[in-house]
Symmetry: none
DNA sequence: GTGGTCTAGACCACA
DNA sequence: GTGGTCTAGACCACG
């Protein structure tokens, strides 16, 4: 695991993102237990309080659930996960398109560029 | 002009990127004079040597031409600029797609997601 | 090693030339490690930064490869080296002929002069 | 006229070379008057004594003749001039070949390289 | 150790 | 003024 954080964003937020991606990629599945606050603090070499805050954040997004005395778990409500998945996708796409617009590329260029990349770059099949 | 740099990449390289984008966006046109190394050093609050390294880098890419005692100018060879534009587009798209794959999205999701974003997000017209 | 430089050309460039010639002459073979920037700085009594600029220059010409934390090495791509060899030969010949023309010698004089020099001066055999 | 001298050789000797070349190129013809010691001193921005020494050197080579009260003249003895011309040619060729050998080129490479350069580089005709 | 980056400050050639 | 070169000295990442 990469355990460096950049300074332009709060660490708890970066950590939350990181966990989100692990869930997205299927490294953490619905029902999986997250490391304890202390354990995660050591792994990511951040203060346990920061981890606490991260977990609270994720809890607010309904992505994880905390069970007193047992730990923190990835929600089993797959609807929520799918929703997050969708939202994050939109975000990434939006950022990408905005960046391209900033550099002066037109919508058409973006579309055709992407099409031809997907046709050639990944061998034509889906991932 | 944003004059902050992140530490994960050399300053001269970030500066070069920034200038590249200004050219791409048409803020700097072929034949335009760049600020002198000293001037740019002040604007970006970096050492003139670092600016010079940036300019040298851009010169190596043939994006910029330097005339002793006169200054540094955006090349008037638009072929080179178009080529750069194309190359950078490919790079951005590639990075985007790789990032999406890393997060577990399929090619199809990327395509349809982009299509619908472009239809709704920008009002349906081209930029 | 001669460690004097003339002022009509940048030191980093003269150093690069010198290393080029060492490679040409086979004193440095593909894969050989160059002295570290610091070491070479001492040998040539120039600043390590200047040596680094030299190495960077050679790297740009693909004559040399640099491995972080290990050092700088002569490329093992002999095609590039042969190409350089050929290019440099052309340059030297061109400079020679131009110089002779400047002094008023004709092509014929140059040719016959060279022929007779090679027959007598080196004993008639190839080097 | 280029009026810079490098430090690795005495100035009077560099000046003599320069005049030699002017004679070789026909800019100074047999019988021509050289500038006075004072005049030449100004032109080349060196001490008149140095010019004096240069002229004495050339006189020793029988290339110029000094006539008391009149000045210094290029010799009209064309044999001497032809001889010098021949000697200088040999020197240049010798230096060239030595340099090429130093860089590891064989006699054959030098010959064929020169031939093809003369055929292509100068348009096939003599100068 | 290695190379890579950056700064500060100096001097140069060119125009 | 412009860019170009060089030095001295510092700090960094990588291995």
């Amino acid at each position: 695991m990469t355990d460096t954080f950049h300074s332009s964003q709060p660490i708890y937020s970066q950590l939350a993102d990181r966990i989100n991606r692990q869930i997205l990629r299927g490294e953490l599945k619905p029902g999986d237990k997250l490391p304890s606050v202390r354990e995660m603090g050591i792994q990511a070499s951040v203060n346990p309080n920061t981890v606490q805050r991260t977990y609270r954040e994720l809890e607010g997004m309904k992505i994880v659930e905390t069970k007193r005395g047992q730990g923190t778990f990835v929600t089993e409500n797959t609807d929520i996960l799918n929703e997050m998945r969708e939202r994050l996708k939109q975000e990434e796409i939006s950022d990408f398109v905005k960046g391209m617009h900033d550099m002066g590329y037109t919508d058409l260029e973006i579309q055709t560029g992407l099409q031809s990349f997907l046709r050639n770059g990944t061998g034509g099949g889906d991932k």
